[in-house]
Symmetry: D2
Subunit: 278 residues, 4 copies
């Protein structure tokens, strides 16, 4: 039976759960998964519901918009696989992991292409039958380089762009063109060690735990809404190189987890934070 | 404003969420927390809702029982602190932790008394102003000993009995008198290492992780519904003694976590499992 | 500068560390990493040392054998990449992860071939330029099937055979031919849920944590020496299918970790346990 | 048999392990635990050894100082319990945990007194038979207040001062009087959220993991050498208050772990980092 996923984000008022579930019930929908959250600081209501038995997504969307307070944002999505563009530089661990997960249907996405600023990962990408585009930054201004990348992305009209260790900083202009649609993995436990060389920073500080953070890219570097984080222990015996090596395993799993959450419509951005329905 | 917590466990049918939230809305209740779960293997619906603005718990209970399918189990609880009897033997870590948490209102419970089969923990207990009863098993049959313990417990009519490392095995008869009201901490990651000396068993097997399990006591030893588990890494350098020492920290935190979940009415037992609303 | 790794396993007596480090010092070796462990239950001494500045591994081995008590087992290895045969069935996650790690030098191994009992993973394997051999069990007795597999393995004289979710049970005879050289990943936190369908067993028991275990294969199924374990939390919402999906990420990382430990000569088997120098 | 613990910190040169273990062997010492580490960035050698069978700690110290390079720092300690002053403010969780561990010999320390800047924890402290001193800051300058605290500490000549959630900032002058002898617990995963209200900062940033850090107090606030860290997951449903509540459990266990490491002479400070022999 076909499933629809509802994501609702609207000013809070009494009775919203009853109204939404009432609509679903009257239209023959059975609730398979349900989550709500009220942000008490801002009086905003969030709801994610997976329902079975309703065929007409557009009708459901219109009915909900009528029933809910003005200002409500409602999203109804079906089971279509999302279209994803991956971006990378030289490190294979995140890219390879996502390509395998896509190929073997572990993640519900079609990778339409991989864009990189070096040739290194071309062979790996193409061995999965995915088109690879190297856009070298050599001899180009930042604007020119980003313009080329943007054009390639827009050819695919992706639902999501995933920076799988894409190691160039993107301009605010670039990011604002894909608001909350660019997912990045930062190799530290943000907000610790913002910026370059986080493993070296971690080693210099002598921390006993390192981590990785998956977040939506925002105009402020490393400041976007966090989706998922994870950590591993380290000791004094780990130099920056060992931290980087062990950290790659964390980066890989945090990124895969965040991609899954976004693909399954479990993430709502609110201000600079996320509500994640798990 | 006063809060009520609803726990519902009933045969699944379409529209249950709409019905329950509709009742709450019509009676002026605002939903503060909400969770549902449908067990697909048995078609059972579970719901936990915290609501503000409804004063009459009994009325709400009656209305819900009318609206819900026959066979529905409904529980409505107010903010009253639960009454808890703690049981222990010689080890202070779990008992001391719970006594401190109770004294400083970290856990919403009144510890009405501590029952132990040794004198060791009497001074500690009494320093918290809690009555201590040592019921030695010396010279008593198991039935006689349990009868004495049962009488002491029943004097307090507790909501919950917590075995904070009570190291005697209780008979099925004893446990069946307090079904799903005795919470136990087992010092292994169940179902591994059932029975005596789990740390020694773990050391003999050469595991690299050890754990602890909080569960409701059931007639079958170490087989009751699991509420919470946690683990820590160990290495070849940990003998049974070091495992036990490190394991105590896990036992302590798993037990405290499970006690909190039960005190906050977040746990529903279904068959030999639990649904835990977090 | 070239490095040698020493692994020593011998009856304990006083002064062993002084003797070994004295030998290294007199032969111009500088100690880069060092670990010792005495098993107090069996009076066995274990030592792992990485040394720089000694060129002649054979000479060092002979000197150490002279200096150490009779009964000492000494292993001296250089930086040669180990030869590894991977075995798999249909699931790509562990195999794909190891192939990427090998290709990009994250793990110091040459994968000489992949042997599977189904065709599913052939394309993935060959896209990494690694020979793939499908040995179907159809129409063969267990002995015949294992004989074919053994012949293929022996053609490569591998240092290690890694069962990357190879889902057939191997006979004691087969395993005894590769003692402590077959590494297996079991999809449970052993010794919980030995045998078939561990995720279903975990779901039926209602555990709140699931795990994976990498171990050397032994004649007794799922009883071999454990090298590494890890776990993740689950809730009542996870059925066997969701546990399996989430569990795959744990299997993948535990297996990769155990393979690394073995490739770096960090693991000594003693009885049914391992000493792991990290 | 009596045990001695050696801690060595000296400029690296070849043969140090052989020299130290040779000394121990010639004096009849048997090595029970041994760890070494060479800091490759600064060419410093660290060693911790536990030895049995040597009675004369002073002789051993003198011999080692003769054998080791000039500039070597050597510490030899026996099994004496360390003397510890605890400092606290109003929160009972860390203080209570340490008092129970001391009383029941889980940690090898004598708590000589508790100093607090509020009366709140007096009853709890005294119920453990430990002297309690409230030094209110009311009406005192920072210098005057710290002078009173310092005098109380110095009366006990403690090996260690543990700030068990002491919520006043200490001056550089105060701290420099107890260099690397004041252990503090900071309620964040440093270096994230330095300074006041870390849980509020964490909530505002929308992190998905929070943590705690045990470190030696240094002249720069929250910048001292880190001994231990740990974390727990949080979600969007956790406000600052819930983060604080859950965080207390992490603070408690990280602090206890760091105290144990220091009491067992497992921690060497080097620059702004620690070498921790576990």
């Amino acid at each position: 039976m076909s499933r629809l996923t509802l994501l609702i984000d609207c000013p809070d008022e009494s009775g919203l759960v009853a109204r939404v579930t009432g609509v679903l019930h009257r239209h023959g929908g059975n609730i398979v998964e349900n989550g709500e959250y009220v942000d008490p600081a801002n009086d905003v209501f969030f709801m994610r519901t997976v329902t079975e038995g309703i065929e007409d997504a557009d009708l459901l969307l219109r009915v909900l918009q009528t029933e809910l307070p003005s200002g409500a944002k409602v999203k109804v999505t079906g089971a279509r696989k999302k279209r994803v563009v991956l971006m990378a530089t030289k490190e294979p661990h995140c890219l390879g992991d996502l390509l395998i997960r896509a190929k073997f249907q572990d993640l519900p996405m079609d990778v339409t292409r991989v864009i990189a600023n070096h040739e290194t990962l071309g062979e790996l990408t193409e061995s999965f039958g995915v088109p690879f585009h190297c856009v070298s930054a050599d001899g180009l201004s930042r604007e020119e380089h980003e313009e080329k990348v943007r054009e390639l992305i827009e050819e695919d009209s992706p639902d999501l762009v995933v920076m799988a260790k894409y190691m160039r900083i993107l301009s605010s202009e670039f990011i604002s063109g894909f608001r909350n649609r660019i997912l990045n993995i930062h190799h530290s436990f943000l907000p610790a060690f913002i910026g370059a060389n986080p493993y070296r920073q971690a080693w210099e500080r002598g921390v006993k735990i390192i981590g990785a953070t998956a977040h939506f890219a925002s105009e402020d570097l490393d400041q976007g809404p966090i989706i998922a984080q994870d950590v591993i222990p380290v000791t004094h015996t780990h130099g920056p190189k060992e931290m980087a090596r062990n950290g790659r395993d964390v980066e890989k799993r945090v990124l895969a987890r965040a991609v899954r959450l976004v693909l399954e419509d479990r993430v709502v951005v609110t201000g600079n934070k996320t509500v994640v329905f798990e």
